[in-house]
């Protein structure tokens, strides 16, 4: 039941959402931000502040963005390219800093240019 960051965030990474999140569950990749499904409390504080409207509740993600539901999840549950361990649930983005790596889906994305 988490919120999900979709493709419009790619190469924008405004991070206004990071400032709003009360549980610090939005993590910074290289080209995009990701919401940790296990840490998100479904409060919705992030959604209205995104300048490119890239955030939606998983139940309301448009059809053409469905793959980002799983992509947000796998950013934390599967080891990212070049890493041996998954990010997991660090208990807050500030505990680990910028991750600096994207999922394969986002790394290969043509971007929003």
């Amino acid at each position: 039941m988490p919120y999900v960051i979709m493709s419009d965030c790619i190469d924008i990474t405004d991070q206004s959402c990071v400032e709003e999140c009360p549980v610090d569950c939005i993590y910074v990749g290289e080209r995009k931000l990701y919401i940790n499904a296990k840490e998100c409390i479904d409060c919705g504080a992030c959604e209205p502040v995104c300048p490119v409207e890239a955030i939606a509740q998983d139940r309301r993600v448009p059809d053409d963005q469905q793959e980002f539901i799983e992509d947000n999840r796998s950013f934390f549950t599967d080891p990212l390219p070049g890493r041996d361990e998954p990010v997991g649930t660090p208990g807050g983005s500030r505990n680990v800093g910028d991750i600096g790596i994207d999922t394969a889906l986002v790394a290969a994305h043509p971007g929003n240019g």
């Binding site: 206004s16 709003e20 009360p22 549980v23 610090d24 409390i41 409060c43 209205p48 502040v49 649930t89």
Partner: protein, 358 residues
């Protein structure tokens, strides 16, 4: 608009008050909806109860984040505003006069063996208050709340800068700058406008997170509203004298003696991580069907509790805390019945209020 009651909680002990020692049967860590309902049930069981919360008001997430949102899944209430639900829970628990220890974080929990009975606990809060208790129910939701700091001028905290408004009178005849765009920021503006000389609301975006009707009330109340701007500097000799506000189209310096930063909260499990619990996903306390954690005498209920099949809804938390409190009652007195009786039976006499031990 409803009447604002910020900081007006009966029996509340706020941060900064003299450290005290209390003796109760049960401590509820977290005064959100589930903790408040647990206080009611503890009262039904004749237990003396204390509620500890890092926020200065009861209501937890509902008060801090969604006071104006209608909630639709409270049994028997087709719709109830967050604020009303909390007021009603406080009234329901209030029949038994729980001890509120607000504005202080539960920091440490020490087990104290006794010569002739089950162990007791000493719970110490961030203000040094010590509570001697026989059982604990953790109703801590998403953890302890800390206010998000103002990016500039943090050094004026307690010298004109505050995150809450404990007493409206402190703002009489002052020029106040309120920072933020949520319900709390707007509520402070509306509460302070009749008391302060001037009120300016500074929000870093155009769009407010607060309820639309609340924002309309703010715009109509005579306060100055500055959007797309931030507080970039606070100046003063000891106390706040000037506040620099910078926006997209330049800045200005306001004469002000008070700044209220209502930029929301960061929640974190906090010191409870060190209490020896079996943690799930680094944030939830694993419990069994009695709501007992793996620490005997310590129970958990509501969003913070975890077990197979858990559904994180307020409706579920109310049931869990009734289970937790009644099982805690048996932990406190193994001769006691697990079943509390029905609330429709003759009401038990209310217990004596928790006594402060010098």
């Amino acid at each position: 608009m409803t009447e604002l009651q910020h900081g007006a909680q009966p029996g509340a002990q706020h941060a900064g008050s003299q450290a005290q020692r209390h003796e109760v049967d049960l401590v509820l860590v977290g005064a959100g909806p589930v903790g408040l309902y647990g206080a009611y049930y503890a009262g039904v069981r004749g237990l003396r109860v204390a509620l500890v919360d890092s926020l200065p008001e009861p209501g937890g997430q509902v008060t801090a984040m969604y006071p104006e949102k209608p909630i639709y899944d409270i049994a028997g209430f087709p719709s109830v505003r967050g604020r009303e639900l909390v007021d009603n829970l406080v009234a329901q628990a209030g029949q038994y006069d729980p001890l509120y220890l607000l504005g202080q974080q539960a920091q440490s929990l020490e087990r104290v063996p006794t010569a002739d009975g089950p162990d007791r606990f000493e719970l110490t809060t961030s203000t040094g208050t010590v509570v001697d208790c026989g059982a604990v129910v953790v109703t801590g939701g998403i953890g302890t709340f800390t206010p998000r700091p103002l990016p500039a001028g943090e050094e004026f905290l307690g010298r004109g800068l505050s995150y809450f408004v404990p007493t409206l009178d402190d703002f009489a005849d002052t020029d106040v700058v309120v920072v933020g765009g949520g319900d709390s920021a707007c509520d402070w503006v509306l509460a302070l406008r009749p008391i302060a000389r001037s009120v300016t609301l500074v929000h870093r975006r155009q769009k407010f997170r607060a309820h639309a009707a609340t924002v309309d009330a703010v715009r109509a109340c005579g306060a100055t509203v500055v959007t797309d701007a931030q507080v970039t500097r606070i100046e003063g000799d000891g106390r706040i004298e000037k506040v620099e506000v910078t926006g997209k189209d330049g800045g200005c310096v306001l004469e002000a003696q008070r700044v209220v930063a209502a930029l929301g909260f960061l929640a974190d499990l906090g010191p409870m991580r060190e209490w020896g619990f079996d943690l799930h996903d680094n944030r939830h306390l694993v419990v069994d069907s009695t709501m007992s954690t793996d620490v005997p005498g310590v129970y958990a209920a509501g969003d913070i509790a975890e077990y197979a099949g858990k559904v994180r809804l307020i409706a579920v938390g109310f049931g869990e805390v009734a289970t937790a409190v009644n099982n805690a009652a048996v932990h406190l007195d193994p001769e006691a019945s697990l079943f509390p009786g029905h609330s429709t039976d003759a009401a038990p006499p209310p217990p004596q209020p928790a006594a402060a031990v010098a």
